[in-house]
């Protein structure tokens, strides 16, 4: 059999068949990953009766507008979207500032405690979020920050991953001579960081921004224990909470789910190259 496959006469055929199988597997993978998203978008045009019929429906229905109205009845959808946007946006901005400051200091300065901070930071990456959930809740409670959005983004602005990413980035792409030159020109330390270093870090910051935004937007556990009033809740919480409504209008819920994915989808498709390369370089090296 193998002899035949190695016969030059058949080489082309074997090569083509190999290519075909390869593409079949790869595209099957795409179908399996993307299909649930398409399915949820499709279901958002159905109402309860067509959705729960006993036959498999693979076409769009006409209930989209209806579902949209229902969506707003069962959950404060746009309010929750706005809250998520606010939490993710503010959190991202501040984490860009904080992570770049810390990462820069860890990369450039020699100071007492630097190694301790670095080690603690790396170790804290390993602590599972559920573990710190109770103390997090208690500190928030003690500070009187329960049911505020600040509590849901501030603690996550010092992401160890982000600090690590920026540190690596500074080491790799900010030449020491440039910092010396800035100092000779009389720039203060903060000025050097702000107007010399930050612009150089732009690609790294872009990666971090996407990663942080995605993490904050998708966070569920922390809002779940902190935000308890309906008008403060974020989108992940609100989506989940409709599960407990009797006779859930699933068409409307699927519409909400699909809409909640869209902002991330847009950001991701615009920046996938940067995000994927940034994630892997920060993670592996």
């Amino acid at each position: 059999m193998i002899r035949i496959l190695e016969n030059e006469h058949y080489q082309r055929g074997v090569y083509l068949a190999g290519k075909l199988i390869l593409w079949f597997i790869l595209l099957l993978g795409v179908v399996i990953t993307v299909f649930p998203f398409i399915w949820s978008a499709m279901l958002s045009t159905h109402d309860r009766s067509t959705m729960f019929s006993s036959t498999l429906t693979l076409q769009l229905s006409d209930q989209l507008v209806n579902n949209y109205h229902q969506l707003q009845q069962i959950m404060p959808f746009w309010n929750a979207m706005f809250n998520s946007m606010k939490v993710a946006g503010l959190g991202t901005l501040f984490s860009l500032l904080f992570c770049s400051m810390i990462g820069y200091a860890l990369a450039v300065y020699q100071f007492r405690g630097r190694n301790v901070i670095f080690t603690v930071m790396i170790c804290s990456m390993m602590i599972p979020p559920v573990l710190t959930l109770i103390p997090y809740f208690m500190v928030i409670d003690a500070l009187g920050l329960t049911n505020t959005h600040l509590a849901v983004w501030l603690p996550f602005t010092i992401s160890p991953f982000g600090i690590f990413l920026i540190r690596q980035y500074v080491v790799a792409s900010v030449p020491r001579e440039l910092l010396e030159a800035a100092k000779l020109d009389g720039a203060s330390e903060f000025r050097t960081y702000w107007s010399v270093v930050l612009p150089l870090l732009r690609p790294g910051l872009a990666t971090l921004a996407i990663v942080q935004f995605v993490m904050l937007w998708n966070n569920f556990l922390h809002p779940l224990v902190i935000l308890n009033s309906r008008e403060m809740q974020v989108i992940t919480q609100v989506l989940r909470s409709v599960q407990s409504i009797p006779n859930t209008p699933w068409g409307a819920v699927m519409l909400g789910t699909t809409l909640s994915i869209l902002p991330l989808l847009v950001i991701y498709l615009l920046s996938s190259k940067q995000m994927i390369s940034g994630l892997t370089s920060g993670a592996v090296k």
Binding site: S54, V130, I158, I163, Q243
Partner: protein, 336 residues
């Protein structure tokens, strides 16, 4: 400076010198403290939300405390919380569930991701980019959204999965092979206690396999092409090249990806939470340690026990990662 007016020039010189010395000192001190200004956000936020709570958690785990009653209601109970937790069959069940789901979702993730990444690398950059983008999509989507979609797809009467199985069982061409499925219809993927772990594990697998593909693709891209070429000349088949060149050189990446999977899977929370409707259905086999912890703390409001469970969870995760590092760490890290 006003005092310069009523003192002699010599004195004013001394004062001036002292002033500059003082300014120098301040400047030096300021310069020395710069790095600390830069790291101060970390020190403050991590101190408040990281260091202090960890110590408080130790303290809390020896107390009985209901958060609704305020801090004053804290009562010292010694090791009772640990004793209660460790003798609670539910905790052991949750631990077992977590382990089973971690393995059921974790092992296939890597078994699928490695060959897929190998296939991807053989493509051109453009095709690879678009395929990777698609595979990565579930990873960036919120677990809640994903779990909601799967919750619908798993639905026993009208869910997509049962529809497809039914179509297979009744189809004229496929009924001979799949007809037996009808005996089990409708399959209650999330309500049947014996199935729930598999259903949850599949969602976890589906969500994270793309992330691993991306890491492995990045790893494979670092392997120089000459190695493959040389092996090809020596007559190595495609599989042999994967087995004897790619796989050994991928060790650090595999090590990294598996470590992330272990830590992530031991922390499983959202998937079981949504898929079992906030743990209302089939709670026994679907509950992970994190779910159990959440329930003890926020549904039963027993923070002391929850703190004790946290430490037990920490120990378990630490043991697994430690064991893994001990077994594979040297081989996994040698490439770096």
């Amino acid at each position: 400076m006003s005092r310069n007016l009523d003192v002699s020039p010599e004195v004013s010189d001394v004062v001036r010198a002292a002033d500059t010395a003082k300014a120098d000192n301040i400047k030096r001190l300021w310069n020395k403290s710069t790095p600390y200004w830069f790291v101060s956000p970390y020190l403050i936020i991590f101190g408040v939300f990281g260091v202090f709570p960890i110590f408080f958690m130790v303290f809390l785990s020896f107390h009985h405390w209901n958060p609704v009653a305020g801090l004053g209601s804290m009562r010292w109970v010694g090791l009772e919380n640990y004793e209660l937790a460790l003798t609670d069959p539910m905790l052991w069940q949750a631990m077992w569930n977590t382990l089973v789901m971690a393995l059921l979702s974790g092992i296939p993730q890597h078994l699928v991701a490695l060959p897929m990444a190998y296939l991807l690398v053989s493509l051109g950059a453009h095709a690879r980019h678009w395929l990777t983008t698609a595979y990565f999509l579930p990873y960036i989507t919120s677990t809640i959204a994903v779990s909601m979609i799967f919750y619908i797809m798993y639905s026993p009467q009208s869910g997509l999965i049962n529809h497809m199985l039914r179509a297979l069982a009744d189809g004229t061409l496929t009924s001979w092979a799949f007809g037996w499925i009808n005996n089990f219809m409708p399959i209650a993927w999330l309500q049947e206690n014996s199935l729930i772990r598999y259903s949850v594990s599949f969602v976890v697998f589906w969500k994270y396999v793309g992330f691993n593909i991306v890491i492995y693709t990045a790893g494979l891209a670092t392997i120089p092409n000459d190695l493959y070429e040389a092996a090809k000349i020596d007559g190595a088949s495609s599989f042999q090249r994967f087995r004897y060149i790619a796989l050994p050189l991928m060790r650090p990446f595999i090590f990294f990806a598996v470590t992330l999977t272990i830590i992530g899977n031991m922390n499983l929370f959202e998937e079981p939470f949504v898929l079992t409707r906030g743990l209302q259905t089939a709670a026994t086999n679907g509950m992970s340690i994190s779910n159990y912890l959440y329930r003890v703390a926020w549904e039963w409001l027993d923070m002391g026990s929850a703190a004790a469970i946290s430490w037990i969870l920490f120990l378990v995760i630490g043991t697994f990662t430690g064991l893994y590092f001990w077994l594979f760490g040297r081989k996994g890290l040698e490439g770096n």
